[in-house]
């Protein structure tokens, strides 16, 4: 029975092994079948997620409503990314079956990350995903920058992971375990005890700071975000989408879990740090994006800036000891808001990337110029892209607006005027570069007459944008699910 709880992961990793088998058995026909298998595996995992019971595997792993929800984001997002990546992959990526294997194992690793309740499980799962992701970043054929992206990603990630591990070793030294529950009770005990004087507290925070550096690297917080634009730009675009959405979602999932569980007793001291990081991330990314001319890089900066927005919700977290009462409800709501924002952000970003790699596979260009005159050649795609961008910018009536609204609501409830003003300023600045894309599409004349009409992405993009537009009417179930997840993650 306990395996049922992790059935989705098992499906994914099992499919990964089968893909590997394909490659071994019939290398020539492996590409197509492994692609299809990967897609079906993701679909299967997505469906299986509906049937997973809540279950804790000792103190190292836990499947609950929170992890299920985030996993469904991860799997669903990966499915969408992969599904429409076929033309791109066939053309630009070497070894599709390996790609699929690595893709699936990365998803697998990230899924486990969201379930981890022990730091070492977290690290192992994260590394499983990362090891695959380094190579995925470098998977482009005939492309130097892809290798560069891979190397940069690897070096940065390894370094950040090493720092994080060092921090974990300190936490281990302080608490005697790396189980979230043990860390929590230990910290809780310290925090409550008289020995926790203001002078001694910083020492406890040492490990947590290093941990935040590691997770902050993953979710691209300033100043640990420097790798992101380079890696995003150099990687194959479907993988860029993966990095920007799936990997970041997993990072936020673990951040949420860490913040509301093991380090909760000390989170009050982290608040100022979160506020500072959120502000800097939002502002640095949006201003730096102003000067970009490459669409991928632009979206990379946009994604960094969104990390800053999401961090606002984290910054509203307070030390809540009792799991009932308004404070806990507030906390659950903050988590729910973040999760909702995550969905909004992921849907729009995936949409934008899908449009981008559709264009890229036709025009062989990922600069903003590739968008020139898209309106003339394909109004539907233009409309969808506009909606995605509007959603990213947080304009109503898109889902992005609701997400931003909920985040603002949280921040306001927590009385964080400073962050709000920074967020508004960042939003205004971000409009500038978002509308740059729209301007390219509707104003400039196209350089060539490439038609996108045959592309199935068109239908997909339109459906996704319809979903984004109509979310305001139908988002209630999703919000309820987020709320449930928010409540679930608070249980310890």
């Amino acid at each position: 029975m306990q395996y049922m709880a992790f059935l989705p992961e098992l499906i994914v990793v099992g499919a990964a092994f089968v893909v590997l088998m394909f490659e071994a058995v019939a290398p020539r026909r492996a590409s197509g079948s492994s692609f299809i298998l990967a897609a079906f595996a993701l679909l299967g995992a997505f469906l299986a997620l509906w049937f997973t019971p809540a279950y804790s595997w000792g103190s190292v792993l836990r499947a609950d409503a929170f992890s299920s929800l985030v996993k469904s984001f991860l799997v669903g997002g990966s499915l969408l990314i992969l599904l429409y990546a076929w033309p791109y992959l066939r053309e630009r990526v070497s070894g599709i079956s390996e790609f699929c294997f690595l893709f699936l194992t990365s998803v697998f690793g990230l899924m486990l990350v969201t379930s981890a309740t022990n730091f070492i499980t977290f690290v192992v799962a994260l590394e499983t995903a990362s090891l695959g992701m380094y190579t995925l970043a470098a998977s482009m054929r005939r492309d130097r920058s892809s290798v560069e992206a891979g190397v940069k990603f690897f070096l940065n990630s390894a370094f950040a992971t090493a720092i994080m591990l060092w921090g974990l070793s300190i936490i281990y030294g302080l608490t005697g375990s790396l189980d979230f529950s043990a860390v929590y009770s230990s910290f809780d005990h310290f925090a409550a005890s008289s020995s926790m004087t203001p002078e001694i507290k910083p020492f406890h925070l040492l490990g947590i700071l290093a941990l935040i550096v590691g997770i902050g690297f993953k979710i691209t917080l300033f100043p640990f975000h420097l790798w992101a634009p380079d890696v995003y730009q150099g990687s194959p675009t479907p993988f860029t989408a993966f990095l920007a959405t799936i990997s970041k979602a997993a990072g936020f999932a673990i951040l949420i879990r860490v913040v509301v569980w093991p380090i909760l007793p000390l989170v009050g001291d982290m608040q100022i740090l979160f506020v500072a990081l959120a502000t800097l991330t939002m502002l640095a990314a949006s201003t730096a994006a102003l000067l970009q001319s490459d669409a991928k890089r632009l979206l990379a900066y946009s994604s960094i800036s969104h990390a800053g927005f999401m961090l606002i919700a984290i910054a509203t977290m307070r030390d809540v000891r009792h799991l009932s009462g308004p404070a806990a409800a507030e906390q659950a709501q903050a988590v729910a808001s973040l999760l909702f924002y995550l969905v909004a952000y992921m849907s729009a970003t995936i949409g934008a990337f899908v449009v981008l790699y559709t264009i890229e596979s036709k025009r062989k260009d990922s600069s903003l110029k590739a968008f020139n005159g898209l309106w003339r050649t394909d109004p539907a795609l233009t409309f969808s892209m506009t909606v995605f961008i509007a959603s990213l910018a947080g304009l109503p009536p898109t889902i992005g607006f609701i997400g931003k609204f909920l985040i603002f609501y949280q921040a306001y409830s927590a009385d964080m005027m400073f962050l709000l003003v920074a967020a508004v300023v960042a939003t205004v600045i971000s409009l500038f570069f978002y509308f740059k894309i729209i301007r390219c599409m509707i104003l400039n004349t196209p350089d060539d007459e490439v038609s996108f009409r045959d592309s199935p992405t068109r239908a997909f993009a339109v459906i996704l944008c319809g979903a984004i537009l109509l979310a305001i009417f139908f988002s209630e179930p999703l919000r309820n699910a987020c709320m449930e997840a928010g409540k679930a993650v608070l249980l310890r």
Partner: protein, 103 residues
């Protein structure tokens, strides 16, 4: 006392690892630095297990170290493969040789 000394030793190794990462121009050299950092982490885990009264089960720390060790090996393998690809594409092991993506 021993604990302090050993922790300081470990910290020095950690710092030197960071230093190696940020100053060695050769990508393999940077990798060496990362290995140093990971070793310092492992050392920490063992030191705490041995000398701290807060640790209930020192073996858990050793298991952690074991995991980290394995991951370090895996990382080294992937890293070296990537570095070889880097050499192939850019003709240099210099990490900064791959500087086409920026801004």
């Amino acid at each position: 006392m021993v604990l302090s000394v050993l922790l300081i030793v470990s910290t020095l190794i950690f710092g030197l690892g960071i230093l190696a990462v940020v100053t060695r121009r050769n990508a393999i050299g940077m990798l060496l630095g990362i290995e140093l950092m990971l070793n310092s982490v492992n050392l920490n885990l063992v030191i705490f297990g041995r000398f701290s009264e807060r640790i209930a089960d020192p073996l858990e720390g050793q298991v952690y170290a074991l995991f980290i060790m394995a991951l370090a090996v895996a990382e080294a393998a992937v890293g070296l493969a990537l570095i070889l690809a880097l050499v192939r594409k850019f003709g240099s092991v210099d990490a900064d040789a791959a500087g086409t993506l920026k801004g």
